[in-house]
Structures are given as C-alpha cells and as structure tokens.
C-alpha cells in the first residue's frame, strides 16, 4: 500500500479519535453515549466555513467561533435534555438516547438552515506547504491535524488522571450511585464533560474541515464513526478512542484502496459486526456491550 494512504489513515484516524474522545468523556461521566457529538462537529465546521466564505472572517477567528458555538450547543444539550431526562441506576435510558439522536438530527438541520445546505470547503488555517516523507507528501494541514490531536489527547490524559475533577469524572463513570452518595459534584463534572465534548468535537469539525470540506448531512456519519472508533478502541484507557479511530480509518482506507469507493460502507459494516461479535470490549478491555 502506498505511503500516501498511510498518511491519510493517520489524518482520518485522528479525526475519528477526537470524535470518539468527545463521546468517551461523556460516557465516563454519565454512562451513556452522547450521539449528538457529530452535530457539534458539523456545526463548528460549517460555521467556520460559512463565516470565512460569506463574511470574510479570518479562518482562525471562524474556527474559534465555530468551536465556541459547539461548546454552547453541548452545554445546551446537557441543560435542556440530559438534566431533565437522566435517571442514573434505572434501566430506562431509551428515551434519553432517542432524545440525543433527535438532537443530532436537530443540530444537523440547524446547521443546514443557518449556514446553507451546500457542501463547503473548510477554512484553511495553514498554507499549502508540506514536506516529503519517502514517497508521500505530508501537507501542512496534516501536520496541524496530527499536532492538534496529540496536544488535545495529552492534555486530556493529564486532566483525567491528574486533576481532581478528572478523577471525579472517572469515579462517577465507574459507579454513579456511590459517587452520588459520597457527595461528588456529579452535575459540575457532567457540565465539564459536556464542555470538553463540545470542545473536542468542535475542534475536530473546525480544523479537519479544510481536509475534504464539510456538509450539513455528515453529522450522522461523524457520530457513527466516532462511536465505532470508541467501541473498537474500548473505554478502559484514554488512548482507546485514538487507537480505535486509527484502526477504523485503516480498515476504511484499505477497503477503498483495494475495492473502490462503495467498499467504505461494506467494510465499515463488516468491521462493526466483527468487532461487536468477537471483541465487544474493544482493544483496551473493559465492559462496553450493554
């Protein structure tokens, strides 16, 4: 396989990894998958692209505004949907999940209504430069994406394992009832987790949009791929989402390289069925399947 494809796998893997990390922090703090993350990413990407194209804003300002919008949307999700509907310890999470899926749909449509339904090229944060790595070209955009992912994951790991709030988040994820009884600040931690989810998904959507553009109806794919990356990687380690993202990207890119564009969907389906059937705990073991 050409080296260029490996570069592309790393780029896609970082993108999926960031989306999976956004789901991961919410799952650790509240025990459910936040399916709305794809909506945050699409909103941030389209917002940045729209502001740059229609209002002539500098790309960086557009991306920052988009990320801000994503964080606000994530906090709104927490306040308007999760707070009234979240009932820890019961088996009744279905309405909450459906509400989150509905909000994914609403966010996608909101982005479409606000910023237009046409696909847009993403805002270019860096120039066209790059360097040669063997036979492959690594663009400045790719360097930016990988560096951003590395920094974000580094900070996330530090925060999760070193800060009091990060430890609280993991404690709540391990045993919500006990955490509530011990008086851990469950709500504050959940707000922090949703802020982080908005930030991670927003940065992924805003920064990676320059790679292959952004369209309002990608939200569901983003959510699905992030979810799959999280399931493949497993939730036992903070690095799980990133590794899962890379594995998923590798499977998709290999399938497209050997079997053509339609194979993307076949390979993703096959990967999902295989992983769910054979290794439901993910690569980093911890119970994932409900």
């Amino acid at each position: 396989m050409p080296l260029q494809i490996v570069v592309s796998i790393v780029e896609s893997g970082c993108f999926f990894g960031l989306l999976a990390a956004a789901m991961f922090v919410v799952r650790e703090s509240a025990g459910f998958f936040n399916f709305a993350v794809g909506g945050y990413a699409v909103f941030a990407g389209l917002c940045a692209a729209y502001l740059a194209a229609e209002h002539g804003l500098p790309p960086l300002a557009g991306v920052l505004l988009g990320v801000l919008g994503a964080v606000v949307l994530a906090l709104l999700t927490e306040a308007l949907i999760v707070r009234p509907m979240w009932k820890p310890g019961t088996n009744e999470e279905l309405p909450l999940v459906i509400a989150l899926v509905a909000s994914l749909f609403a966010l996608e449509q909101l982005a479409g209504v606000l910023f237009g339904r046409a696909a847009r090229p993403g805002p270019k944060l860096v120039g066209e430069g790059g360097f040669k790595l063997g036979s492959a070209t690594v663009t400045a955009q790719a360097v930016l994406e990988v560096a951003l992912t590395a920094v974000l994951f580094g900070l996330l790991v530090l925060w999760m394992y070193r800060s009091a709030m990060g430890r609280g988040l993991r404690a709540i994820g391990e045993n919500t009832q006990a955490a509530i009884i011990l008086g851990l600040p469950v709500r504050a931690v959940r707000i922090a987790a949703f802020t982080l989810a908005g930030l991670l998904a927003g940065l992924a959507g805003g920064v990676f949009a320059a790679r292959s553009g952004v369209a309002f109806d990608s939200a569901m794919d983003y959510t699905l791929f992030g979810f799959l990356a999280l399931v493949i990687g497993g939730t036992a380690s903070m690095w799980g989402p990133l590794l899962g993202g890379l594995v998923l990207a590798a499977i998709q890119a290999t399938a497209i390289f050997y079997f053509g564009a339609a194979a993307l969907h076949y390979a993703t389906l096959a990967a999902a069925i295989l992983f769910f059937a054979l290794r439901p705990q993910g690569i980093f073991m911890k119970r994932v399947r409900v």
Partner: protein, 344 residues
C-alpha cells in the same frame, strides 16, 4: 355507571369501528386532489415504516433501524418486475415482502447478541451499506438513475389508477395498524412486550427469546417492504435517494411523538411528520428541524406522546364527572395500562 365507562367496555369493538370512520373520512378528504394524494402517500409510507419499527422496537425493545433497506427492497421489487419481466406487477408485492423478511431475519440473527445502541449502530451501517450497494450495483438496480415503473398495476385485468392506489394505501395503513393493535394484546404480543422489559425472565419462562425477536423483526421487515411498494406504486419510479437513510430516523421518532402505548400513536406521529416536513416547509426546509425539536420537546415534557397527553386529559374528565371511577370499566384495559406504565 357513566356513559364514558360504558364506552370503555365497548373498546374491543370500538377500535375497528372508530378507526374505520376515520379511514373513510380520510379517503373522502383526499378524494382526487393531487396534492392531498401526495400527502396521503407520504403519511402512509412514514406510517407503515413506523409501524414496522413498532413491532420490534416499541414492543420488543430491539432498535433495528435498517428501514430504508426494507422499503427499498419493496420498491425495487416493483420497479424491477416492471422493467425486467413480463409478470403482473402484483407479483412483486409478495416477492418484496419475502425478500425483506428474509433480510430482516438474517440481519437479526447476525446481530442477535447486540442490544441498544450497538444494534442501532450496526443496523444503521447496514442501511448505509445497502444504499451504497443500490448505487454501486447498477447492473441489477439501475444505479443512481434507478428504475421506472413503466406499466400500470393490474388486478385481474383491471388497471389501478393513482386514485385507487392512494385509497388502497390508506386501507393498508389502517389494516396494518389494526392488526398490530390486535397482535399487541395477543399472547405473542404480551410475551414480546415482556421480553422488551425483562428478557431473562421471559427466557426463564420457557419462551425462546431469539425466536420471539426474529419473528418481530421479520414482521417489521415485511411492513417496511409494503411501505416501499406503496411509495413506488404511487410515484412510478424508485431511485436510491427516494428512500434516504434519514427515513429510518424519522421512523424511530414517530412512535415517540404520537405515543408508544398503541400503534395508532404511530399513525398520529406519521400525520405530524408529514405535516411538519412537507406541508409546513415554509422556511428554507426547516420542517425537519421543527420535527426534530418537536420530538425532543415531547420526549422531555410528555414521554407518553400525544396519545399519553390525550389519555391524561380523558382521565381528568372522567374523574371530574360524578360517579366516574378511574380504570374500573374494562379489566382488560386496566391490565393493559399496568403493562404500559413504564417508569420513563
């Protein structure tokens, strides 16, 4: 005993009669108006897909959502029989239903160990892969251009026009909703609903849960295929984009919007989704946005859907009436309500 309570006793007979009256009114309202016919076809399509999901998702708690695939199978069966064979078009209906049922059961048995979002994710990916295959396999499906239904549907030599197809579509929706409402109260339906709440207990009671689930998935696939066949018969063509993946999403929301306690909730939800996405599209295609927001609002404030709101209002009226006792009237309905009272 008040008149209302007496009405409650008549419920088994009231359901088909009342719904038949509504059906006749709907048929009369639609008439031969082309625009109203479009609305009716869309409502029937959404309604049937929602009813398909009702059979295994609302009753049995398996969130298998590849409905765009089942509907496409029904639609393509009609299109391909019209384009590639000389058979009467009615043959395509059982063909499509059998094919969709088989695929639903096959997908169900591959994913039988999954539940919740994991099942939803895999079936969603299946729906996406199927959509990609429809475009990809242009030798079979006509690719992105799709197939055109070039001949009219005939029944014993009589050609069905669009007017008749629309009436038949409404009748089909009524019939399927009625049958599902009956099925829901049958021993099978009770077992399926119990499985949705506590699968282990049902398995322990000697009912094979996997078979129970696969049957419900097969029923869903068959109804989904019927939806696609009706949609295609009314529109006379089928493309991969005719039935997009988002249809599956809308179908998941429909029962929550209308009310999960009865298949009629699906019909109400389908009416609403048609109204919101088609009729009220006044502001830049924002109908879908309105619909999604409406679903979220209903889920937060009225978890039992619009039927639940109506039932609460009715119960209040009953209590306010002198001598009107709550659920005393119909013992069957009372146990029914207990089963439905899921702590949401």
């Amino acid at each position: 005993m008040t008149g209302l309570a007496r009405l409650g006793r008549l419920r088994p007979a009231a359901e088909p009669v009342l719904s038949l009256v509504v059906l006749l009114l709907a048929v009369a309202w639609v008439g031969t108006d082309g625009y109203r016919q479009d609305l009716a076809v869309l409502t029937v399509t959404y309604g049937l897909i929602g009813l398909g999901l009702y059979s295994h998702f609302i009753m049995g708690d398996s969130l298998s959502i590849a409905y765009n695939a089942y509907a496409a199978i029904g639609g393509y069966a009609l299109g391909l029989v019209a384009a590639r064979t000389g058979w009467p078009l009615l043959v395509s209906l059982p063909l499509g239903i059998v094919a969709a049922t088989l695929i639903a059961v096959l997908l169900g048995s591959v994913t039988r160990h999954l539940s919740g979002f994991f099942l939803a994710a895999v079936t969603l990916l299946f729906g996406e892969a199927f959509q990609a295959w429809l475009v990809d396999a242009d030798g079979i499906t006509g690719g992105a251009a799709g197939v055109i239904v070039s001949r009219p549907v005939t029944v014993f030599g009589h050609e069905l026009g669009r007017d008749e197809i629309v009436v038949l579509a409404l009748v089909a929706l009524w019939l399927v909703a009625l049958l599902l409402s009956r099925l829901r109260r049958s021993p099978y339906g009770v077992a399926l609903r119990a499985k949705g709440q506590a699968a282990v207990a049902v398995e322990a009671a000697g009912i094979p849960v996997t078979v129970l689930t696969l049957i419900s998935l097969g029923i869903g696939g068959a109804i989904g295929s019927l939806a696609g066949a009706i949609f295609t018969a009314a529109n006379l063509s089928i493309l991969p984009e005719s039935i997009p993946l988002s249809v599956a999403f809308l179908a998941v929301f429909i029962p929550f919007l209308g009310g999960r306690s009865s298949p009629w909730g699906v019909v109400i939800g389908a009416l609403l989704v048609t109204e919101l996405t088609f009729n009220l599209n006044f502001f830049q295609d924002s109908g879908t946005l309105l619909f999604a927001v409406a679903v979220v609002v209903v889920l937060i404030f009225a978890p039992e859907g619009l039927i639940g709101v109506g039932r609460d209002l009715l119960a209040r009226v009953r209590r306010a009436l002198p001598g009107g006792a709550g659920p005393a009237g119909d013992p069957d309905a009372a146990t029914d309500r207990e089963l439905e009272r899921r702590p949401v």
